[in-house]
């Protein structure tokens, strides 16, 4: 192979580049592709109303569980309302709620909006720790001026009279 450089050092460098280049291309390509398709955005109900994510797109919905909105059905289905200051979303979830799920407290649901606007959760984020609150939620609540420290329930999450 006469087109290869003469010095062994340059040859080695060339082979090294030849080995790294495809791996690098593969890794970068996969990373960009992966980051485009498999990131999920975090919304509070009012942010979701503004951004209007496409039905079926995987997103995270965070907010406060409205008091008295949790309905558990014998077939394992759970429905509850997630609220922030200006908007609410109805969430349905099939399965067992995490042990620390409480009415009037923060929750993050992972799933997608349905065509009818109901949020279908695949997973309700479990917390290992009573004091722990997902960071995005803390931040979003602080931005809305609704942060009152751990464990407090803002007014909009209190039970609402049915209209």
């Amino acid at each position: 192979m006469s087109w290869l450089p003469k010095s062994p050092k340059a040859r080695r460098r060339l082979t090294l580049i030849a080995a790294i280049a495809p791996v690098l291309a593969l890794a970068v390509g996969l990373t960009l592709w992966g980051l485009r398709d498999s990131i999920s955005f975090f919304y509070t109900p009012s942010q979701a109303a503004a951004a209007h994510p496409a039905a079926g797109r995987s997103v995270q919905l965070g907010g406060m569980v409205r008091m008295g909105s949790v309905a558990k059905y014998p077939d394992g289905r759970v429905e509850f309302v997630v609220a922030d200051r200006t908007a609410t979303d109805k969430v349905v979830f099939q399965g067992d709620l995490p042990d620390l799920f409480r009415e009037g407290q923060g929750v993050v649901a992972v799933g997608a909006f349905r065509d009818d606007g109901v949020f279908e959760a695949k997973q309700v984020l479990a917390k290992h720790d009573e004091k722990y609150m997902p960071r995005e939620l803390t931040k979003a609540l602080k931005a809305q001026g609704e942060w009152r420290g751990d464990g407090s329930t803002p007014d909009y999450a209190k039970a609402q009279p049915t209209t």
């Binding site: 062994p8 050092k9 080695r12 082979t15 090294l16 080995a19 790294i20 791996v23 690098l24 593969l26 890794a27 996969l30 990373t31 592709w33 992966g34 980051l35 398709d37 498999s38 990131i39 999920s40 955005f41 975090f42 995987s58 995270q60 558990k72 059905y73 014998p74 077939d75 394992g76 099939q94 399965g95 067992d96 709620l97 042990d99 620390l100 984020l125 479990a126 917390k127 290992h128 720790d129 009573e130 722990y132 997902p134 960071r135 995005e136 931040k139 979003a140």
Partner: protein, 661 residues
């Protein structure tokens, strides 16, 4: 009194660590063996100080001394003894103290064991280790004191107890193993800094690095496996890896250490890749510290966030920045002056190991990017996002598949110039068998899954490849029966270690692909006597009754499992209520079927409109799940076997002869 003694011993440990830096650094500058010995003594003294402090904290936990605020926040008198002891490292302060204990322990071990090292190199290593000790001990003493007392009426009568999820045997021993792995990389880091200061990286250096890297890697492997196993059976989600930031944080140093173990072989045998090995040595500990920062600071949303304290995150970030920054700055300054290593052909064992390193480094980079991308994105655009498992499956899996495909060829290639045709001749049967396993899986296992079958083929390829490697090395089929045994036992332990580690990887891949491809899941609300089906098994909820644990009350179900009308086993999952923290935790039940698991979870009790109680029962069929945990254990066993190789010690002894006192 004992808590004060502990605080005092901790400060003494810090003082000795500072002395260690000063003495060893001066010893290097003045080339004084007296000062060097004093520096080594200070390393041991620093360890003893921290050990006393740690023992005092353990004592406070065991005796439930609630006047110590850390104990009051994390312990409870009714907790079983194991979890009282484990509570020591269940909090932020306690876990950092454990980190310091292991860090100074490694420092003391490196100071006492490394007798054969050149004096200058060793002095710089001890000084660097002392500097690391100083930084982390200063953080502990000034920002995260584990032995702070509560005063007067603030002392509670009863403690707040440890998070019930952490009250588990696997998780009780998970942090010591994980930290022994993380912090073991500190010795590797110190050796790299010493080599850069001395300006010499040769075969001998690589030989000294390898045992420490091997020990740390083995600990880390076990630590990660324990954590994964804990998540598997304690969280009740049926999964064993979630690509959660905290999991990734432990996985990145593991990938770096794995790359280092392989590149150090090239540096040891052929003197090549010296700069790259140094880079990995610095990188492994940097990723360990990054892991500690990510886990402890809570900057990323994790499902496994424990003992998080954002205020301290900033301090940890500064420590990370300063330590890694100085290490890599030194590297940038000194590494170009290192002598270039040996030359090798494109087809050679060196090249195979370089390819291994390229793939592992690329995999580390994709995991890091996925883990940190939410932070980057939020800083740039203010949008909160999360990167989920699909990203990692898409980026990580193909790179690892490529690595697995080249892996069996590597050990069969000769150094310097390999012979691809010869390797082909030795491996074509293995490749055929592996392909056969894949095709058989595709044909026999339903539902038909091409990706799962490909995974099984790759796993089989690794397992058979490991066997071929052993056979080729001993030529066991070409000699008489009497010779066989001699040849197998005569094989160096290092070779056995490698074979075991590669075999373990193959077994893990088999288990992981089978589990991911063919797991089954069913969830239903069952009344007493009700039943559900999963993967051909018929589960009947027989009874649900109360049960009392040491520090919890539980509701326990009895589930009878049958297949084709024949009874198979019974499972007793429960739901435990811990009054101390007001928390409910599910205890799952596992029914072992060969390597496969039937995984049962008892959920909430609900009431139907008719008024009968029903329980949410979830069941998972996890085929070959045992292999997922068995594989890494075999890998770690390979690490330990390799560590016990006589060459690891002979190298040091030979060195001693070369340097007459």
């Amino acid at each position: 009194m004992i808590a004060e003694l502990g605080s005092f011993a901790l400060i003494l440990g810090l003082a000795f660590a500072i002395a260690q830096v000063g003495l060893s650094a001066t010893a290097r500058i003045r080339r004084s063996s007296v000062l060097a010995a004093a520096g080594e003594g200070a390393a041991v003294a620093s360890f003893l100080g921290v050990a006393v402090a740690f023992a005092c904290l353990v004592h406070a936990f065991v005796t439930s001394d609630f006047s110590v605020s850390n104990v009051a926040a994390n312990s409870h008198t009714e907790k079983p003894m194991l979890y009282k002891v484990a509570g020591t490292w269940g909090s932020h302060e306690g876990s950092i103290l454990l980190w310091c204990l292991i860090l100074t322990g490694y420092g003391a071990a490196a100071a006492t064991l490394g007798r054969g090292l050149p004096k200058g190199l060793k002095a710089v290593m001890v000084a660097t280790q002392g500097a690391l000790g100083t930084v982390f001990l200063a953080y502990t003493v000034f920002a995260s004191s584990p032995l702070t007392r509560l005063v007067g009426d603030r002392i509670p009568v009863e403690g707040a107890s440890l998070n019930p999820l952490l009250q588990d045997p696997a998780l009780a021993i998970h942090p010591p193993f994980l930290y022994s792995g993380y912090v073991g990389m500190s010795v590797v880091f110190s050796l790299a800094v010493a080599a850069l200061v001395e300006g010499r990286v040769d075969a001998a250096w690589a030989r000294w690095v390898r045992p420490w890297a091997l020990a740390a890697w083995s600990f880390l492997t076990i630590g990660i496996t324990l954590g994964s196993f804990w998540a598997y059976y304690e969280l009740g989600w049926g999964g064993w890896w979630f690509w959660d930031p905290v999991e990734n944080a432990s996985f990145m140093p593991w990938l770096m250490a794995t790359a280092l173990l392989h590149s150090a072989i090239v540096t040891e045998k052929r003197g090549a890749l010296a700069g790259w090995s140094l880079f990995l040595a610095l990188g492994a500990f940097t990723f360990s510290m990054l892991g500690a920062f990510l886990v402890r600071s809570g900057v990323l949303t994790s499902v496994h966030a424990f003992a998080v304290d954002p205020r301290r995150g900033v301090l940890l970030l500064i420590i990370l920045g300063v330590t890694a920054g100085s290490g890599f700055a030194l590297f940038a300054w000194r590494a170009p002056k290192l002598a270039p290593g040996g030359v090798f052909a494109p087809v050679s064992r060196e090249s195979a190991l370089v390819l291994n390193n390229i793939l592992l480094a690329a995999a580390t980079a994709t995991v890091m990017l996925g883990t940190l991308y939410p932070l980057i994105r939020e800083a740039l655009t203010g949008e909160a996002i999360s990167v989920g498992p699909p990203y990692f499956n898409l980026t990580f899996a193909p790179l690892m598949a490529a690595l697995a495909i080249i892996l069996p060829a590597g050990p069969l290639l000769a150094w310097k110039r390999g012979d691809l045709r010869g390797v082909g001749q030795r491996l074509w049967l293995a490749a055929l068998l592996a392909l056969g396993a894949g095709v058989l899986t595709l044909a026999l296992v339903s539902p038909r899954k091409a990706l799962g079958a490909a995974g099984v083929a790759i796993g089989a390829w690794l397992v058979i490849g490991a066997a071929v490697e052993l056979i080729e090395r001993t030529r066991v089929f070409r000699v008489s029966a009497a010779d066989r045994w001699r040849r197998l036992t005569g094989l160096p332990r290092g070779a056995w270690g490698m074979t075991l580690a590669h075999l373990g990887l193959g077994i893990f891949v088999l288990g992981a692909c089978f589990e991911l491809g063919w797991k089954g899941e069913a969830a239903e609300a069952l009344p007493l006597g009700g039943s559900l089906n999963v993967a051909g098994y018929h589960l009947t909820l027989e009874t649900v009754g109360p049960r009392e644990g040491p520090n919890y009350d539980a509701e326990r179900a009895l589930i009878r499992v049958s297949k084709d009308g024949k009874p198979v086993c019974t499972g007793e999952p429960d739901r435990r209520f811990y009054p101390a923290g007001g928390q409910t935790v599910s205890g799952i039940a596992l029914c072992y079927r060969g390597f496969s698991h039937l995984y049962m979870v008892l959920g909430e009790r609900r009431t139907t409109t008719a008024g009968t109680p029903v329980w949410l029962i979830r069941a998972y069929w996890n085929p070959w799940a045992s292999l997922i945990f068995l594989g890494p254990v075999i890998m770690a066993l390979g690490g330990v076997t390799s560590l016990s190789d006589r060459r690891m010690r002979l190298g040091v002894a030979r060195r001693r002869q070369e340097q007459p006192a």
